[in-house]
Amino acid sequence: MKIGVFICHCGENISSTVDCPRVAKICESYPGVEYSVDYKYMCSDPGQNLIREAIQLYKLDAIVIGSCSPHMHERTFRNAAFSAGINPFMVEIANLREHCSWVHDDIESSTLKAIELVRMAIEKVKRDKPLSKINVPVTKRVLVIGGGIAGIQAALDVANAGYEVVLVEKEPSIGGHMSQLSETFPTLDCSQCILTPRMVEVHQHPKIKLLTYSEVVKVEGFIGNFKVTIKKKARHINEDLCSGCGMCISKCPIKKKAYNSFEEDLAFRSAVYIPFSQAIPNIPVIDETVCTYFQTGKCGMCLKVCDRGAINFDQKDTVMVADIGAIIVATGYKLYDIERKSADLKYKGYGEYGYGKYRDVIDGLQFERIASASGPTSGEMKRPSDGKEPKKIVFIQCVGSRDDSKGISYCSKICCMYTAKQAMLYRHKVHDGEAYVFYMDIRAGGKMYEEFVRRAIEEDKVKYIRGRVSRIYEENGKYIVKGEDTIAGMPVEIDADMVVLATAMIPQDNAPALARTIGIPYDKYGFFNESHPKLKPVESTTAGVFLAGACQSPKDIPESVAMASAAACKTIILLSSDTLEREPVVAKVNEDLCAGCFYCQKVCPFGAVEVKDVKDINGIVYKEVAFINQGVCQGCGTCTATCLSKSIELSGFNNEEIFAEIAAL
């Protein structure tokens, strides 16, 4: 085998601490090396030409490049090698920049290290085998998980590009948190007025299959070829027959047993209900836990009043399997449990603020419902305890956010803006009322955002106090808010009628479980991880799975929409070709040696290992061996290390190659 070695100076990035000519010179005498040279910029056009010419002139079989990280230019050099007629996988990169010249000062020791790194690469390349890319077909259907604004936007974008979409929403209606909001910053336009047309469009789109009250329970397969199992929970209403007249709801005798979660528990709902009047689809759900029929077997009022016979108490959960090419995850957020209701006690609550104890201490979403024209108070400013109009209201920002002691160190990003908006809405509704805001910093980056906060302060006379609140307690029908004004440097005490806590945005409770189902990583809070914080913000690290909206990190509406469209775009790119090319770094089983213990099957994170029967000459199965589906294998190699008889090898990183690298140390 003839090997060429190319040492890049990277301008001065490498050559300032590594003696590149010396490295190239020494490699010349190395067994198997036919040609060795150093050059100022290997990745430049002349540099690549140098490689191509050397390959042809010296009839090289493999090349080693001493340059920057393979994550930077591996592809460049592979392409260069390919265009000169050698297999792109007969190229190895010694990382002389990120792992050597940039991290060491001493020229002598970094040059020696560089020589060793190149030597390791030479030994590896000697054992490399030509590989060819793997082609897999693509199913042209997209799964969108979550029907909030991000999911809606993504579904519409993909469907409008002509691809089929399955939109799964766990609640009975799509719309998400955005449908609960009163008005949106910084324009104060009505949230539902801008959202509902989108919801209707989703419902009527011929390419979108909408599955509400449904959950994803299993994801198998891989990019282009997922098999997704979706559970559709029983509504106990026949969706094909129901006209959405609402007769069942108005006649349901159970009126005050269940809180309305859409109204953030500020109102009750009946046992058969639709979450809100603009719900899509406009089909009710029977809540088994409170319905008299399900609890005692009696009643059945809804059955009697429904003239279309749509009520079906015997309806069962159904499970369906869909072939999917790509997945967009848009499961959104929830608000921090101020009372510490969450089971894992990951976060500490805010007992000192009396949430849950005082009915007039509420969170941001509850205020949205009170301020909303469709809400429990029809948009009139009334406090929950006695329905009186609060004359003095206190907003507290960063409840949970930016507070390590409570378990969350990040900024929830939207609270500064929505608090300003809520204070403004309050002042618009209660002209003689006073609004106070306790804040740590005002973070109002965004188009028209800072102006909006200034408007709250200057036009609407909202009083901003920089400082934290230590305690809230009730005294003579007032809520005494004790805090500190850190600018004035003195304690503050406000006797408020109502307190609104701008609680942190956290991921949905089931986010980690869903992440494990899909097979995507998540951070310590449960937000899904993007593939690269800067350059791949909408891709998850799992190929074919994309992220949109607040499930990735706290986001406001325009950001969620932008991310959703970006994810949709990435998906459309993926579906635009009929087959996918994949790197040939996959595991292969030596069937003669495989003992059939199937530990590889147990450890494979992707379910790529299948059972294959081996038959003798008479057609009798004499052993079972592992078989790796090359389309599913992602090339982690966990099976290779687990395999006791070492009957599995990972192409491109096989044991012989790694042993050679170790030996070259």
Binding site: D592, L593, C594, A595, G596, C597, F598, Y599, K602, V603, I620, Y622, E624, T642, L644, S645, K646, S647, N655, E656, F659, A660
Partner: protein, 294 residues
């Protein structure tokens, strides 16, 4: 004994199994494994305190399987197994080497076996695995014989040796094991008798690349013994056959037992005890010990 022979005979006559793997008496304190395929030969079968071999090792031997098949019989095998040998059978089932329905387990109420052939069975000469044995009754069986008897009391010398080693410095330990492994002649008897060493080609026989050096030198011995112990960690059921088979008396059980202690302490896992629990190797818990990692 009579019941055992009758049962075996019946199985073979009815064609329920094509062979019975069992023990036959050689001399007063010595038995040997036999594979009975003819109902007439079942009167050679015995079971007593000198049935030392772990017969589960024969269940995966291709030759036995092939001989069954060529005679056009059912593939089903009966195996005579002490309760501790049943653990090996369970592990083999878990590792997909055999199917439960293909194996007829004949087991016994057991009160221990002698430490080796030729020793009178008593508290002084009891096998070390029997000293703290908790399964005098097999966990899985198709037929059970024998009456329950008290196990002779004895002190757990092997455990004391482990503790003694743990009290040593790393240098002393290294020297200790180096001296032990230095004796190794790479006969691979430990591998041959181990029911769980069923690989068709062991990694020590692989040459491209060479996994374990086969030259007659300490370094390869060292690697072989470490890898053997590692491949069995979390899997070894503690039958102790490797140590008994070792012609140069390397205390292999020390390593196996130490790893079994680890499995129990860190993962509450004892190998070969249950067909329902997932195997320790090949599964994980998100809450596994993370202290090792910076």
């Amino acid at each position: 004994m009579k019941e055992l022979r009758e049962h075996a005979k019946e199985l073979l006559e009815k064609g329920e199994v094509s062979a019975v793997i069992g023990y036959s008496q050689v001399s007063e304190k010595r038995t040997k494994p036999i594979i009975v395929t003819d109902p007439q030969d079942t009167d050679q079968l015995v079971f007593n305190e000198y049935c030392l071999n772990n017969l589960a090792v024969y269940l995966t031997k291709a030759r036995i399987k092939v001989s069954c098949r060529t005679k056009d019989k059912t593939l089903k095998l009966a195996v005579t197994a002490k309760p501790c040998d049943v653990h090996s059978v369970v592990a083999l089932i878990q590792e997909n080497q055999i199917h439960r329905e293909d194996i007829h387990i004949i087991s016994f109420n057991c009160h221990g076996v002698a430490k080796d052939f030729g020793f009178e069975f008593s508290g002084d000469n009891i096998a070390s695995k029997c000293i703290n044995c908790e399964t005098h009754k097999p966990l899985y069986f198709d037929k059970i014989f024998g009456e329950e008897k008290e196990t002779p009391k004895a002190s757990d010398d092997a455990m004391e040796r482990i503790q003694e080693i743990e009290r040593m410095s790393h240098q002393e330990r290294f020297e200790f094991f180096k001296n032990e492994f230095d004796k190794c002649i790479k006969c691979y008897a430990c591998r041959a008798v181990c029911p769980l060493c069923y690989c068709q080609r062991c990694i020590t026989d692989k040459t491209i690349p060479r996994w374990i050096e086969s030259s007659s030198h300490m370094r390869g011995n060292f690697a072989w013994n470490i890898v053997r112990a590692f491949h069995l960690s979390g899997r070894c059921t503690g039958c102790g056959e490797c140590e008994r088979a070792c012609p140069v008396d390397i205390p292999l059980s020390l390593l196996n037992r130490r790893m079994a202690i680890k499995a129990k302490k860190s993962f509450s896992y004892v190998s070969g005890r249950s067909l329902e629990t997932p195997t320790l190797v090949g599964s994980f818990n998100e809450k596994d010990n993370d202290e090792l990692f910076m």
